[in-house]
Symmetry: C2
Subunit: 298 residues, 2 copies
């Protein structure tokens, strides 16, 4: 082990850059009988990420947070270069939460020369965000598979904010037999209900005000469906409302099965209203749960 590659202490959190050092640390914890939780992130941590870390902490005495802005999930025209990065701030926040290890690999550690393997998920990985970001879920599925196999945690925690991603990750972990429990954590919101997101930093004050309406509209649509209205009507109403709110465009507003993401017309099982909209330089996504409608007898 060279000095350059040794784990380093920054503000009390051990930070490693190599899979070998990650595995060494996890191996020591395993030998001591400790359960391990993993929280994969792209950094630029906000309260939403910290809620994931706290959930991992509640479930496991040892918590790893990975910080890696994954180039494979950005298309060439997307915001990989602009994506916010704040390593010092991230380390301070994670130290304050008592995280045991930060895994911050460089690009070559994750995608060395000759890298050629892709993990794709059909079904849940198609439609919705994949319709406008066709590269996205292959990039997510591949890097999450790698992170899960690198760390082999007992639990990995993801936010419900990226709901389609959560379903895709559950699917790939099950399908590839990765021995991990995937845990979803409810979205953390600003005072007006806007879902916290690193990309909210792209919003001007005017755009920020408009953005706050998205979650209210989703809650309205969810309420209509929960009261028995058909999805087609509720979504048409919602799309018309969204169009008048000041967003530049609507990528989608859909009602889907909460587990499979198949389209549903009536919420007879747990469902989810999901939307993606564009405003200024930002693409915002959000979603709300819909409790199943109890059908009246006869």
């Amino acid at each position: 082990m060279t000095a350059r590659r040794s784990p380093s202490l920054a503000q009390g959190v051990v930070r490693v850059e190599t899979v070998a050092n990650l595995r060494r640390a996890v191996g020591v914890w395993r030998a001591d009988g400790h359960r391990v939780g993993l929280v994969p992130t792209m950094g630029a941590l906000h309260a939403g990420h910290l809620a994931l870390v706290e959930e991992a902490r509640r479930r496991c005495p040892r918590v790893v947070v990975s910080v890696f802005v994954n180039p494979a999930q950005f298309a060439p025209a997307e915001d990989f270069d602009e994506y916010p990065r704040d390593e010092a701030g991230d380390m301070a926040k994670l130290a304050a939460l008592g995280v045991d290890l930060v895994f911050a690999p460089g690009r070559d550690e994750i995608y060395p020369a000759g890298f050629a393997t892709t993990v794709t998920v059909a079904g849940a990985g198609a439609g919705l965000c994949a319709a406008t970001r066709p590269h996205f879920f292959a990039g997510v599925a591949t890097v999450v598979t790698k992170l899960l196999v690198q760390c082999l945690p007992d639990v990995a925690v993801f936010g419900e904010k990226d709901y389609q991603q959560l379903v895709v990750v559950r699917r790939l972990a099950r399908d590839l037999d990765i021995p991990v429990e995937i845990v979803g954590v409810p979205t953390v919101r600003e005072a007006d209900g806007l879902a916290m997101s690193s990309r909210n930093a792209y919003l001007t004050p005017d755009e920020r005000r408009i953005a706050g309406g998205l979650n209210v509209l989703l809650a309205d649509v969810a309420g209509r469906v929960a009261r028995g209205e058909a999805a087609s009507g509720a979504l048409a109403w919602g799309r018309q409302r969204l169009a008048g709110m000041g967003f530049d465009s609507i990528d989608y507003l859909e009602l889907r099965d909460a587990e499979t993401l198949e389209p549903v017309e009536r919420a007879t099982r747990p469902a989810r209203v999901l939307a993606a909209v564009r405003i200024g330089g930002a693409r915002l996504i959000d979603n709300r749960p819909v409790a199943p409608v109890v059908e009246a007898a006869g």
Copy 2:
């Protein structure tokens, strides 16, 4: 654990059908400090497979052989239904070699309802066999990823007979960070040099005689390239010879880099001559190594 799912003893080898029971057995060995070797097979075991098992045995005190005829690597028109199966014979051979565990999952254990994930390998997984069997390596890569993650062995052993598969498996194991050493074992051959294959059972006596010429031709081409002849000339010579030997058709005859499978014109690094031909109801593949040519100085 239900009685139906309990490990069963057949001729002295423990046979399990579920990932849970596989992991339980491997977990006990790990706790005892034993290294574990895995030999993935599709059954119908011949001396070629047994050489893989013996190699695993040499490297690991505990050996698992998986037997699963993987539907995902057969196209609808291919020989999934006809593929030879001989479970009793397989178990007897593996018992004689002292294999510790046979993992023989049913189709639903590997591909349960809702299964939606695919592993693909670019580069090595394109061309050669993929040109005529485009579904093949995604099927192989997906099931091998699953078997490796299910068992998490220290070593997994594959035959050089399926050389492109071996390169694809090395690539995916490295790319997905699966903590396993992939070991390739030289092809076991019949008296006339025909590579052993479960599919040789499809050959009539006349076809069997013709098939024996394939490995001789490959050795001749390899010899020409090793003596400094350019690939283009040696392969053209070889294709012409093959066409006159009685095969129904030639899928390919190629010279490739032994590690990356990129086409090479001169064997300045270790290379491989690879071929696939069709005769009667069988598709035969074989390959031969080419030692690097030492270039004469100026």
